[in-house]
């Protein structure tokens, strides 16, 4: 995990659950330039939570929109939770965050469980959910920490192929076909036409297309929620 992620993690741990203390302040003078630098630091840290700088700009513009990718990512994660847990315990945590673990100061993704959670979803949600996994991993997406030196996302793809084409309950004809002859995110992006003007694989293009389909995803999620509610009634 890079430095920016570490700073966010420290800020998070120093902010969440902090004790209540009386606010005692002094007024000081500081150059506007220095204050701007401090503001920028926080804004850049928001990229760790959302993704690239582009995503932050897009995300903040749609902050209150129910079609915001961060919101939908969490709802999709909440559906995965519902599959195995009491509906009253939904925390609406994204798939990536559910499968982020800590070992001392090191954070790591359980790529296998991320893949398994993706395969638990209705196939209509898969493409969008896979996109949210990419965005939630942010700059850690290409860290080569997987078995065989695979990156985080390529490791997820490895397990997706393994389980999708197997005989177990996670088998998925759709996903198996989607990743047939595909072993990396870049190959997936090119295969599906998510490329820039130079024909190079473009995650931004993938995200852009997914955002265009957000309303459809919204309707599928609403349908999933109704079905889960009916089954639990």
């Amino acid at each position: 995990m890079n430095d920016r992620s570490r700073y966010v993690d420290l800020a998070r741990s120093n902010s969440v659950g902090a004790s209540s203390v009386i606010r005692r302040t002094r007024t000081n003078n500081m150059e506007a330039r220095r204050i701007k630098a401090k503001i920028l630091s926080i804004v850049l840290s928001a990229t760790v939570i959302v993704g690239s700088v582009t995503l932050v700009k897009n995300a903040v513009d749609n902050l209150n929109s129910p079609l915001n990718m961060t919101n939908l990512s969490r709802e999709i994660g909440g559906i995965v939770n519902v599959v195995e847990n009491d509906i009253l315990d939904i925390k609406n945590i994204s798939i990536v965050n559910q499968n982020t673990h800590r070992n001392g100061d090191t954070f790591f993704y359980n790529q296998e469980d991320i893949a398994k959670d993706l395969l638990k979803l209705d196939s209509r949600l898969f493409d969008y959910a896979f996109c949210t996994v990419c965005t939630d991993m942010a700059e850690n997406i290409n860290n080569k920490v997987g078995i065989g030196g695979r990156s985080n996302i390529d490791s997820v793809i490895y397990y997706l192929k393994q389980y999708a084409s197997g005989d177990g309950k996670l088998a998925s004809e759709y996903v198996a076909e989607e990743f047939k002859d595909i072993n990396s995110l870049n190959e997936y992006l090119v295969k599906n036409g998510y490329v820039n003007k130079k024909g190079e694989p473009s995650l931004d293009k993938f995200i852009e297309v997914c955002n265009e389909n957000a309303e459809i995803i919204r309707s599928v999620l609403d349908g999933e929620s109704e079905e889960k509610g009916a089954n639990l009634a």
Binding site: D3, Y7, L10, A11, R12, N14, S15, V16, G17, A18, S19, S20, V21, I22, R23, R24, T25, R26, T27, N28, N29, M30, E31, A32, I35, K36, A37, K38, I39, L40, S41, I42, V43, L44, S45, A46, I49, V50, V53, T54, V56, K57, A59, V60, D61, L63, T70, N92, N97
Partner: protein, 80 residues
């Protein structure tokens, strides 16, 4: 430019901004000496005193971050 400074955990922080979200005022504090060391607190009033309160959970932290980024998004125009 005038700023409010405070000491938290034996370190001096500057209140760089406050943002109101759903009726709650969030304060964003950055270490005077280290721009990468920052915290978020909520303000509350009890018995006439203003308090810095911690955030409830990670979701609240993320939300506070995004609202801050929303308010200052134009600063990103120089970062792409």
């Amino acid at each position: 430019m005038n700023v409010e400074t405070t000491v938290i955990n034996n370190k001096t922080y500057i209140e760089v901004d406050q943002v109101d979200i759903d009726g709650v005022t969030y304060v964003y504090l950055v270490n005077f000496l280290d721009d990468n060391d920052f915290l978020i607190r909520k303000l509350s009033v009890k018995e006439g005193n203003i308090y810095y309160d911690g955030l409830k959970d990670n979701n609240e932290f993320d939300k506070a971050m995004m609202y801050f980024a929303k308010k200052h998004k134009n600063i990103l125009n120089n970062e792409e």
